[in-house]
Amino acid sequence: MLLRAAVWLGLFWAIGLLAGCGPAPFNEKERATIVSLSLSALKPLPPDPTNAYADQPGAAALGATLFFDTRLSRDGNVSCGTCHKIDRHFQDDLPLGVGVSTNNRRTMPLAGVAWSPFLFWDGRRDSLWAQALTPLEDAREHAGNRAAYAHFIAGHFRERYERIFGPLPDLDGVPDNAGPLGTREQQAAWASLGDAQRDGVDQVFVNLGKAIAAFERSLTPQPTRFDRFAGALAKGENPRSADALSDEEVQGLRLFIGKANCITCHNGPRFTDDHFHKTGVPDAAGLPAESGRADGVSKVLADPFNCAGRFGSGRLENCPELLFIKKDGPELLRAFKTPSLRGVADRPPYMHAGQIPDLAAVVDHYARAPKAPAGHSEAEPLTLSEREKAALVAFLRTLSDP
């Protein structure tokens, strides 16, 4: 009798223990941090004061057409969508993007891009439209020139263009190919144009970028299982079973916002601080050493299409990001942008030149925190068990579509 009672007692204890074996509940501070990462905390799309067409549906529709039009390239075979693939979260799964030839950077995904104050891995552009123009004239990407693009718009999209932007300039006498960044012949042709002709071509080129930017503003991050979990947590409810995080995922989340320090840079609903950091990522094999943000700062300040330029707001005082930009300091050299982690598990390889093949290796990199190839690394070594590393990866998978 006593034996039987003892066995039952043991059984009840064991059941109680199992029920309590799950992860400890989050405290208030952790709960607030988790909610700050969810899409419900995402601020409304910021306006772009440099793009009067940013929120015009007609401009966005034209931009969508242009985004996928391969005729916007030297050889007629590269569009924005060549690297920013619509069925691959607007990236291309390659270590280095391939347009007309191979680039020196990993293609960035585009969901939520309109929230970024600076574009590209080194932040060398300060608006979506100025960003969109850059690959169009980059010899490795679209390899085109702005005179050719202006003629292309006039020849194929005149009516749609004029409905949005007003009359096209007179392009008579503008050679088929001319631009300040093209081949030697194209640069010479550009130099031979009168100011009014150059200005007309620039205006069409800029509006092409503004239309593409209007389209890209519609590419917003989509809620994932993590957001549904965080939403339930915010309301003090239990998430539906399909949305609940496993014990391992919860452990990963706790590490992410806690001792693994991921949230230091990957913060907010897009999991990025929109800034540039040095984390000891090795240079890509076969590519020259890069100066990262240090180069990006010089380029964005020199960009004729930046916020302060005449196609932007026209005044530096209207451009707080440029007005208060950090121009020097050792932390700029080799610093690269914190990428968003939304959808991150779907898009190996990682880092600005695809140097790290998978998420487990990324977590391992931050745990080891190797010395930077030059200068110091902001990353500090972490003591993480194999189980903890796996938990972090498991959590990162909850940031992908279900």
Binding site: L2, L3, A6, V7, L9, G10, W13, L17, G20, C21, A24, F26, N27, K29, E30, T33, R254, L255, I257, G258, K259, I263, T264, C265, N267, G268, D273, D274, H275, P320, E321, L323, F324, I325, K326, K327, G329, E331, H376, E378
Partner: protein, 151 residues
């Protein structure tokens, strides 16, 4: 009580004690190190290093946002409380623990009078302990002050 029963009971007691201990320790384990949110012990009014001035800082809006450009108001006084106008103030700072400076270059954008200066272009892109340093040149001379903040 048979020996086997005694053994079983002893085993049960042991299991209960050990597992209970694990259970309790799991519940009591401190959760993720929460950065100190309270600004307790972090003064917003300080004398400068050489004691030439008294400096107060406060965010222009009530809260300190993370990730957004925002402004602070610095109030400069003499040690006996008189407002100091016409001073030159340079802003610096960073995260000492991460060995990096501020992500932006904040500047004084307006002298608001009565010793108050608007400092714009501040951004705290990361959570944690930040430092804001001010180099001040005024009629009384050149001095400096640093404030710690938790974001």
């Amino acid at each position: 009580m048979s020996a086997s029963l005694r053994f079983l009971l002893a085993l049960l007691v042991l299991v209960v004690l050990v597992s209970g201990g694990f259970y309790v320790s799991d519940r009591l384990r401190p959760t993720a190190a929460a950065p100190a949110q309270a600004q307790a012990g972090l003064p917003r009014t300080k004398p400068t290093v050489a004691g030439l001035y008294q400096v107060s800082i406060e965010p222009e809006n009530a809260t300190v946002p993370q990730g957004e450009l925002h402004a602070w108001v610095l109030t400069l006084r003499t040690p006996d409380g008189k407002a100091v106008d016409g001073a030159e103030i340079a802003v610096d700072g960073g995260m000492p623990a991460h060995n990096h400076g501020l992500p932006t270059s904040p500047k004084v954008t307006a002298a608001l009078g009565e010793g108050r200066y608007r400092i714009d272009g501040v951004r705290f892109n990361m959570g944690g302990r930040w430092e804001l340093r001010f180099a001040i040149s005024g009629a009384a001379g050149t001095d400096a002050v640093a404030f710690d903040l938790d974001v």
